[in-house]
């Protein structure tokens, strides 16, 4: 016994000496540590960023955003042809493409997939209110009929989560209105195909032979796609600390979900490269407009006046380089930049907050702020926000739940006054579910309904941006939810990894390693 243990120990030390710690990395295989196990690999039914990231090179949409967040064709052969009245949208398809199971992709597959998308995808459901019919004109053409002109259609079709990806018609027939649970049915046209999925352990993608790439210079998610490695493996590593340690020891090629505060450690290390996805999303403070003290607009304005966004964002993200605090959701120079209503943003004016509270008739009712420690930055932001609100005289009760429970509890309007959450970057306001009257907080005033309608039906760019100014002004006046700031995300990779593009949902084709 003792001898065999000694032999074992010697073998272990020998192993340590010869292999270093490269146990999980090998040439031709890109290893990626991700923060959790995806609940499904059906990116059509899910709005989870990670699902879109993992399946991004497996399942392909008709259109995708380029680096400037402009839609460009992927499975379509060109941008759609839109009739003069804006109600008939004709999409030409690429021909000669096949799915991973070998079957050919035709307009029938596209029609079936789009119909499922309209029904099942949270993005598709938005379009579903306008799209009245989908038909195959011929094998390589699909036509959508709309009830009225609808500017967000193309962005919705191009977006990565709740994605309008194309599955074979038979797969759709087997899962018309539920997420695909059987991994063998995750069949797409992508540059990689799903080879193996062991829940909580790994997802393995392998290069799809005979892949036919879209044309054009690679840009964002658009342009030519090629598999530069034979395999991509995703490992769920839920503990952020373990992810960081594993990265430092060179165990993975790419690590996601790192705290920005690890940036100095990553950038100082010559074997690692720090990529910053900027912006990656927004941190939101959402209030319950249906019940409790927060149903009162004056009270919500008081909350808005009390918050110190700079402190909140610094505590949440650690390094000033990793966040911006600005009333406008979109950065200066972009088409949706707007300074409308900015005076009531990030005031940190306790006197004003107290005055507004008095006006609202607030009487010390408990203010239950839901948060979760599972997302470090959400919890930290909640700690600082509750400190701000207490200073203004609000009776804050910080309710810490696990993430799943928080998501559940926010359905029940009687059980919370506010919660803090994040919303992944979307290139265009029509993709912001937070404006939906059924979204948590249930903001649904007549002024808002009118402003939102004006925005979604505007087609002309100048008209759209005016309508957006209007909506933002209303948001800051009625304060149903408060955008605390925009955050950037740190993606660390080993220095040898080449071709990584730092955009949300991280495309992994055209990425190589030595």
């Amino acid at each position: 016994m003792i001898r065999s243990i000694a032999v074992l120990a010697a073998a272990l030390v020998g192993l340590a000496a010869t292999t270093g710690v490269q146990a999980q990395t090998s040439p031709g295989t890109l290893t990626v540590a991700v923060p959790f196990e995806p609940q499904t690999l059906d990116s059509m039914s899910s709005t989870t960023d990670l699902v879109a990231l993992i399946t991004g090179s497996v399942l392909e949409p008709l259109y995708a955003f380029d680096a400037e967040w402009k839609p460009a064709p992927v499975l379509a052969s060109a941008l759609p042809d839109i009739s003069a009245d804006g109600t008939v949208v004709t999409i030409p398809l690429r021909t000669g493409l096949s799915f991973h199971d070998g079957s050919a992709m035709t307009s029938a597959d596209v029609v079936a997939s789009l119909e499922r998308w309209l029904k099942l995808s949270p993005r598709g459901q938005v379009a579903g209110k306008v799209v009245t019919a989908i038909a195959a004109v011929d094998d390589a053409t699909v036509q959508l009929t709309l009830s009225k002109p609808f500017a967000p259609l193309l962005p919705l079709l191009s977006f990565n989560t709740g994605a309008a990806v194309v599955f074979p018609e038979e797969v759709i027939a087997g899962n018309p209105d539920t997420p695909i649970a059987d991994d063998t049915k995750i069949i797409g046209t992508g540059v990689f195909k799903l080879a193996e999925h062991v829940p909580d352990q790994f997802v393995r993608l392998v290069k799809s032979d005979g892949y036919q790439s879209p044309a054009g210079e690679p840009s964002g998610f658009a342009g030519a796609r090629a598999a530069e490695v034979d395999e991509i493996r995703f490992f769920p590593v839920p503990d952020a600390n373990t992810r960081l340690s594993a990265l430092m020891s060179g165990q993975y090629d790419i690590v996601l979900g790192l705290s920005p505060e690890t940036y100095p450690q990553v950038s100082r290390n010559s074997e690692l490269a720090a990529n910053i996805i900027r912006p990656s999303g927004w941190l939101l403070f959402v209030e319950n407009t249906k019940e409790g003290p927060t149903a009162n607009e004056k009270f919500r304005q008081a909350v808005q006046a009390a918050l110190n966004h700079d402190d909140i964002m610094l505590a949440a993200y650690g390094l000033p380089d990793f966040y911006t605090v600005n009333a406008s959701l979109y950065g200066e120079g972009t088409s949706f930049y707007s300074a409308a209503g900015a005076a009531s943003y990030n005031q940190h004016d306790l006197d004003k907050a107290k005055a507004l509270l008095a006006e609202s008739g607030y009487n010390g009712e408990p203010f239950r702020l839901l948060t979760s420690q599972q997302y470090d930055f959400v919890f930290k932001a909640a700690v600082v926000a509750s400190e701000n609100l207490r200073a203004a005289g609000i009776n804050v009760e910080l309710v810490n739940l696990d993430w799943a429970s928080m998501l559940q509890q926010r359905n029940d309007a009687t059980s919370w006054e506010a919660f803090i959450s994040f919303f992944g970057f979307v290139p265009e306001p029509s993709l912001l579910a937070t404006f939906n009257p059924t979204w948590y907080g249930w903001w649904d005033t007549p002024e808002k309904a009118a402003a939102l309608d004006a925005f979604t039906s505007a087609i002309d760019p100048a008209e759209r941006s005016a309508a957006w100014d209007n909506l933002q002004t209303l948001l800051l006046a009625q304060a149903p939810w408060i955008q605390l700031g925009a955050y950037a995300e740190l993606v660390a990779a080993s220095a040898g990894v080449d071709g990584l593009r730092a955009v949300p949902f991280l495309p992994l084709w055209n990425v190589s390693k030595p």
Binding site: A16, V21, Q24, F202, R233, V237, P238, R243, W403, Q408
Partner: protein, 312 residues
């Protein structure tokens, strides 16, 4: 023989209690598991259908009988989140936990048994005091804290060991053991305390016995006295405690697996709690505790075999 039968009957009663306790724990959960599992988008009809499918609309006692019936058929239910059978999931996760437990027990024994023997032999010496104090110290250090420390020094600074995982798909047996080394150390050190304490105590008992004195009087060498006569007789309680420690290690493995990102049973149950995957929590708790009961029984049976003095 009648002792064995009595012991088996006793074990079955214990198992019945275990099963009932597990059932109670999972069913006192406030709120409706069906609502939790179906998520925000579910309609009232969907919830009602799921409740009926699970028998949640029946009175508690009826549910309990249903649970027992399914259990008797070896059915632990389905994971809500992962969509697999709980039994299959557990089988898939058993390997890292099993080897982690074995490996850390080996490490604990390698540390504790020689130290324990020496402590007993040099009773009340400085070395004895030092060893027992060290044992208490080892039992006072939170294992996750030690794990973080080991990762920080041996993995990150010296680069000797991988910091997490189980080697990934297709990793060989040696590569997996190599991944288990640090977790096993951080867990083994903690449990070495108990083994050391017991080794010392039972060696002290034996060293005071007549036959040891006789052996010494006959002029037998000290090493042979201690190793042959004394250790042989002290082995029974030591084996017991090693067995019990192994069962306790499963609890320690919960945290260690999280620190080192090992895809074991402990990791599964913590993830399941965070996902509100009640069937998995229930199944894991049940299987682990039943294994413990069974192991206790086997240890008792082992007594009959290795210690002829034990008569019932």
């Amino acid at each position: 023989m009648s002792y064995v039968l009595r012991r088996i009957a006793g074990m079955l009663v214990v198992m019945f209690f275990v099963v009932s306790i597990v059932f109670l724990i999972v069913h006192i959960a406030p709120g409706d598991p069906a609502v939790v599992m179906l998520g925000p988008g579910a309609t009232a009809e969907q919830v009602a259908a799921l409740r009926a499918a699970w028998g949640l609309d029946q009175p508690l006692f009826g549910q309990y009988l249903l649970f027992l019936r399914q259990l008797a058929q070896g059915d632990l239910g389905q994971s809500i989140f992962l969509g697999q059978s709980v039994l299959g999931l557990l089988a898939g996760r058993a390997e890292p936990t099993f080897f982690l437990t074995i490996f850390s027990t080996v490490i604990a024994c390698l540390i504790a048994i020689p130290l324990g023997i020496y402590s007993a032999y040099r009773r009340n010496s400085v070395w004895d005091r030092l060893a027992t104090t060290l044992a208490m110290f080892a039992a006072s250090v939170p294992s996750f804290w030690l794990g973080l420390l080991l990762i920080q020094t041996l993995s990150l600074q010296l680069g000797w060991f991988p910091v997490s995982g189980y080697g990934g798909p297709g990793a060989g047996f040696l590569a997996r053991l190599y991944h288990l080394f640090l977790p096993a150390v951080s867990l083994g050190i903690y449990s070495s305390a108990l083994i050391l304490r017991f080794t010392r105590a039972s060696m002290l008992d034996v060293l005071g016995e007549d036959y040891v004195r006789t052996a010494r009087a006959k002029g037998m060498g000290e090493f042979r006295v201690v190793m042959k006569h004394a250790l042989k007789n002290a082995l029974v309680p030591i084996v017991t405690i090693v067995g019990m420690t192994m069962a306790l290690l499963v609890a320690g493995a919960v945290i260690t697996e999280m620190v080192f990102g090992l895809p074991g049973v402990g990791n599964l149950i913590v993830s399941s709690v965070l996902r509100r995957d009640y069937p998995v929590i229930q199944g894991t708790l049940l299987v682990v505790s039943l294994i413990y009961v069974l192991m206790n029984f086997l240890i008792d049976m082992l007594y009959l075999v290795i210690d002829p003095r034990v008569k019932y």
